[in-house]
Amino acid sequence: MRTIFEQGPSGAAEGIFPACDVPAQGAAAWLGRDLARSEAPRIPNVSETTVARHYTRLSKLNYGVDDGIYPLGSCTMKYNPKLNEDVAALPGFADAHPGAEEVHVQGCLEFLYELTRLLEGIAGLPGVTLQPVAGAHGELTGMFLFRKHFELRGDTGRQRILLPDSAHGTNPASAAVAGFSVTQIPSNACGTVDLEALRAELDDTVAGIMLTVPNTLGIFETDILEITRAVHDAGGLCYFDGANLNSFLGRARPGDMGADAFHFNLHKTLSTPHGGGGPGAGAVAVSERLVDLLPVPRVVKRGDRYALDWDRPKSIGSVHSFYGNVLVALKAYAYILQLGDEGLRAVSDNAVLNANYLQERLKRTYALPYDRLCKHEFVLTSEGLADGVTTLDVAKRLIDYGVHPPTVYFPLIVHEALMIEPTETESKEELDRFAEILERIAAEAREHPDRLHEAPTRAPVRRLDQTAAARNPVFTFPFEENAASAP
C-alpha cells in the first residue's frame, strides 16, 4: 500500500488560492522570527491528478455497505440513504457558523428542536440532548447525569455501576471515566441478567445499572420490568445502551421499560453512515428526574422563535464544543421524516425477521449457544466446526468470498463468537447468498481446512502481522528510512 508520502513530487498546489490582494509582509515581519515556522511540515506537494488517483485507489481497497451485506453484530450496518447526504450538504446548513446569533440560524434551531421532540417520542422519555456525538459519548453523558443526580441529592456514597457480563467494552469504560467503579453481573442460562445475582448486589452504594436492550446476544431482557423496578427500589438509576434500538424501533419504548437515560446511535438505527469509524451521533433521552441536568445549551421555542437556553443551573455543563454533530442529526431527521410511524415500525419488523430467518438457517451448520427467539442479531460459535479451525479463520475466508465478516469474538461470554446482524435493508436473496457462503465455509473447514487457515488470499493484503505491529510500533511514515532506501 503506497501512501501519499511515496508519490513522487508532481507539482505544487498552485492555483487553489488567489494571490494575496493586500500588501504582504511575511510571517517573520508580523510575528518575529521565534513564532514563524522554521521548518515546513513534510506533506508532499503533488498535483490534483495524483491526489484524485491516490484516494480513488485507496477507496477501492475498502468494503462499504454499498458493496454488499455488512453483517457486523451490534453495528447496524444498514443502507445509508443518499438523500441524507445531499440534505446535509445544503449550504444553509453546511455553511452555518456555530457562533452565529440565533436570528441567523433559525432553520438549524428549528430542526434541532423538532428532532429532539421526535426522539423523545421514540424513546418515550421527556427530555433529549443532541450534544453527545457517539454511542460511548452518550454513555458518558448518561454517567455524568447519574453522578450529578446523586451529587445534587447529597447521596455521594453511590459510586458503583452494575453491568451484565455481556456488556460492550465502552460501558465499563464510560462508567470509569465518569468516576464510578464497576461491578459485573453474571448472565443466567438464557443469556439474560441473573435477577437474583442482581438483587444481591443492590444496596446504597449502587448508582445504577447499564443495560443493553436487547442484550449483546440479541436476546430481549424478558425480565426488564423486574430489573428496572429492583434498581429503582434500591435507589439506583437505569441506563440503557441503545446500540440495539433497531430491534424495537416503533414498537416499544425504553421509557416504558424503566429507563432513566437511553442513548440513540443515530449512525446505527437512524441510517447515518459510519464513515470508517465516525462521526456518529449519540443523542441521549432521559426520564423526568434527569431533564434539568441535561447539557447546556438547550434548544427551546419561545413563541414562534427558536433559541438557545443556557440558564440551567442544575446542568452537568457541556460535553461537546457546540450542539453536537448537527449535520449527522440532520441526516437522521431526514430519515425519520421519510419513514414516518409506519416506516419506523417496518424497520424493526424486518430487522428482526431477517435475523430470525438467518439464525434458523445457520444454526443447522453452526452451533447456536443460546437457541431462542432473537431480536435483530444472534451469536453463533465456530466451536465444534472442525479441529483447529477458529472464528478468525471463518471470518477471513468470508473475505475471500467477497463478503464482510460479522463481529467476531464478542460478546465475551460466547467462545469463538460470530455475532451476526443482517439489518432490515438486506433482501432474502442476499441473506440466502450469505448463508450459502457460510455453509460452504463450514464444509471447507472439514474438508479443506487449509483454505481457511490461508485466507484471505483474494484481498488486497493477506493476514497482517498484528504482533509485529504492536511490538515494533510504526504510527507515522518513516521519512528517514524512505530517504535512505531511495535510489
Partner: protein, 441 residues
C-alpha cells in the same frame, strides 16, 4: 418502504421457515405491558421529494450562510478545494465501518496512517491518534491523560481558552475529581506565566488563544518541571507558525474543522491529539500502525489496542470508540491537495489579510486593538465609546456575520468585538469594513 427490499411474499416464506405465524409473534419476548404502552409519533411518511423540499426551505431560513462571516473562535470559514469533497464522498469510505477487518479496510487504514503522520508533521509531535470527537473533548482527554501520568489532582488552565473548550474541560474534570486552577492573562492578551501554580499535573494553554493572540511558549517547558505542557492550537495556522511541538509541548490538541470541513453549525468536528512516544500507553483513542502481511507486503492495521475499551474495559485509557474518522479522512485529502506549499500559502493569506484589516481599523479614530501581542488571523477591537453593540449592529446591517460582544465579555473583555479574517475575505470586503466603521455614526 424503499429501503426495505423484501416484499410481503418474501416475508411469508421467511416466517414459514422459522415457524412463526406473524411478525408480531417475533416480539413475544417483549413484555405485553411495554408493547401496550407504546404510542406512535403521529408522523405520516413523506416522499423523498417532499423531504428534500421541506429541508431545502428550512436551510434557506438560515441567513447565516448568506452573510459574510467575520466569526471565528475555533470554527472558521476556510475555502475547501472541490476535489476534497469528491474524493471524501466515495461511498467505499463513507459507508464503511471501523476497520476491524484490516484485509478489506486498507483504504480507511492507510488514510488513518497518513492522517496520523500529517498531524505529527503539522504539530511537531511524535505520535498522534486517529482522531477525537472535537477539539474540546480532545483537550479534556489531554487533561485526563496528564492526570493519569502525574496524579497531582490539579490542572492549571489559561483563562483565555475558548469558552466552549473550557466548558467541556470543566465537565470532564468535575467527574474525574480534578481541580482546575485559572491562569489569568496580562494586558497584552497573553497568559501570565510569571507565577505558575505549584503541584499541578499539567498546564493547559491555547495558542493562538481566544483573543487570537500567540502565547510565548519559548522556555516554558523547562520552567514547568514535572508538570506536562498541554497546548491547544489552530492546525491550519501551522502553515505559518512554529508548532507547539517545537517548544517541547507534551500533548498538543486542536480543532481540525479548519482542515477541509464544513462549519456545519458546529458539527461534526475533528479533534486532533498528538503526544510524545514515551506516553503511548496513556494515549486515548484508536491508532493505525504499519506492518506486513504473511507474504511480506506492507499493510496497515489498528494497533496498540491493549489501551482501548474493548480489551481493557474499565481500565482503558478512554471510553472513546466511534471517533471522527471520516472528518480525519477529509482533512487528510485536504492536506494532500494543498501540500506543504499550499498550506503555507493559505496560512500566510490568513495572516496578511487579518493584519491588513487590524492595522487599518487601529488607525481609525475611535477604535483600538485591545491586545498588542502577536496574533494570527483573529483579533479583538474596542470602540473608544465602549459601544460594541452599535459597532456590531453596523456591520450586521451591511451583510456581515459578526459575533456578539457577549463572547468577549464572557472572557472578561467587555465592550469589544472579536473579528476573524480568513483567506476567503477579499480586499474589497476588508476595505468595506473599514469604511463602515470609519463612517459617521
Amino acid at each position: 418502504m424503499r429501503y426495505i427490499p423484501n416484499a410481503d411474499a418474501d416475508r411469508q416464506v421467511m416466517l414459514r421457515e422459522i415457524g412463526r405465524r406473524s411478525i408480531d409473534a417475533l416480539f413475544a419476548d417483549v413484555p405485553q405491558a411495554v408493547i401496550d404502552a407504546h404510542r406512535p409519533l403521529g408522523l405520516p411518511a413523506k416522499s423523498e421529494l417532499e423531504v428534500l423540499a421541506t429541508l431545502t426551505r428550512l436551510a434557506e431560513v438560515n441567513t447565516a450562510s448568506r452573510r459574510i462571516p467575520l466569526l471565528g473562535g475555533g470554527i472558521y470559514d476556510h475555502y475547501v478545494p472541490r476535489v476534497v469533497h469528491h474524493l471524501a464522498s466515495r461511498s467505499e469510505f463513507v459507508t464503511a465501518y471501523t476497520p476491524y477487518q484490516p484485509e478489506i479496510s486498507q483504504g480507511t487504514l492507510t488514510v488513518m496512517f497518513e492522517f496520523q503522520t500529517m498531524v505529527c508533521e503539522l504539530l511537531g509531535m511524535e505520535i498522534a491518534n486517529a482522531s477525537m470527537y472535537d477539539g474540546a473533548t480532545a483537550l479534556a482527554e489531554a487533561a485526563l491523560m496528564a492526570e493519569r501520568i502525574r496524579k497531582r489532582g490539579k490542572v492549571a488552565v489559561a483563562a483565555n481558552l475558548f469558552s466552549h473548550q473550557r466548558r467541556v474541560l470543566q465537565t470532564y474534570a468535575w467527574a474525574a475529581g480534578i481541580e482546575l486552577v485559572d491562569v489569568p492573562f496580562v494586558p497584552s492578551g497573553r497568559s501570565d506565566l510569571s507565577r505558575l501554580p505549584e503541584g499541578i499535573s499539567a498546564l493547559v494553554l491555547q495558542s493562538p488563544n481566544a483573543f487570537g493572540v500567540l502565547e510565548d511558549l519559548d522556555g516554558l517547558k523547562s520552567r514547568l518541571g514535572e508538570a506536562l505542557l498541554i497546548v491547544s492550537t489552530y492546525p491550519l495556522a501551522m502553515g505559518a507558525l512554529q508548532p507547539p511541538g517545537a517548544f517541547g509541548a507534551d500533548i498538543v490538541v486542536g480543532e481540525g474543522q479548519c482542515l477541509g470541513l464544513a462549519m456545519g453549525y458546529g458539527g461534526p468536528l475533528l479533534g486532533l491529539f498528538a503526544t510524545r512516544k514515551e506516553h503511548l500507553r496513556q494515549l486515548p483513542g484508536r491508532v493505525a500502525g504499519r506492518t506486513v502481511d504473511v507474504d511480506g507486503r506492507v499493510g496497515y492495521t489498528m494497533t496498540a489496542q491493549t489501551r482501548e475499551q474493548h480489551i481493557r474495559r474499565e481500565k482503558a485509557t478512554s471510553n472513546i470508540c466511534t471517533n471522527s474518522a471520516h472528518c480525519a479522512l477529509t482533512a487528510t485529502v485536504y492536506l494532500a491537495s494543498l501540500g506543504a506549499v499550499g498550506l503555507r500559502d493559505v496560512a500566510l493569506l490568513n495572516l496578511e489579510k487579518a493584519h491588513y484589516l487590524a492595522t487599518r481599523i487601529a488607525k481609525l479614530k475611535g477604535y483600538s486593538l485591545v491586545f498588542d501581542a502577536p496574533f494570527f488571523n483573529e483579533f479583538v477591537v474596542r470602540p473608544s465609546d465602549g459601544d460594541a453593540d452599535a459597532m456590531h449592529q453596523r456591520l450586521e446591517a451591511e451583510g456581515f456575520l459578526v459575533e456578539s460582544p457577549g463572547a468577549m465579555a464572557e472572557l472578561g473583555v467587555p465592550n469589544a468585538l472579536r473579528i476573524a479574517v480568513t483567506e476567503r475575505r477579499t480586499r474589497e470586503e476588508l476595505d468595506r469594513i473599514v469604511k463602515i466603521l470609519g463612517g459617521k455614526r
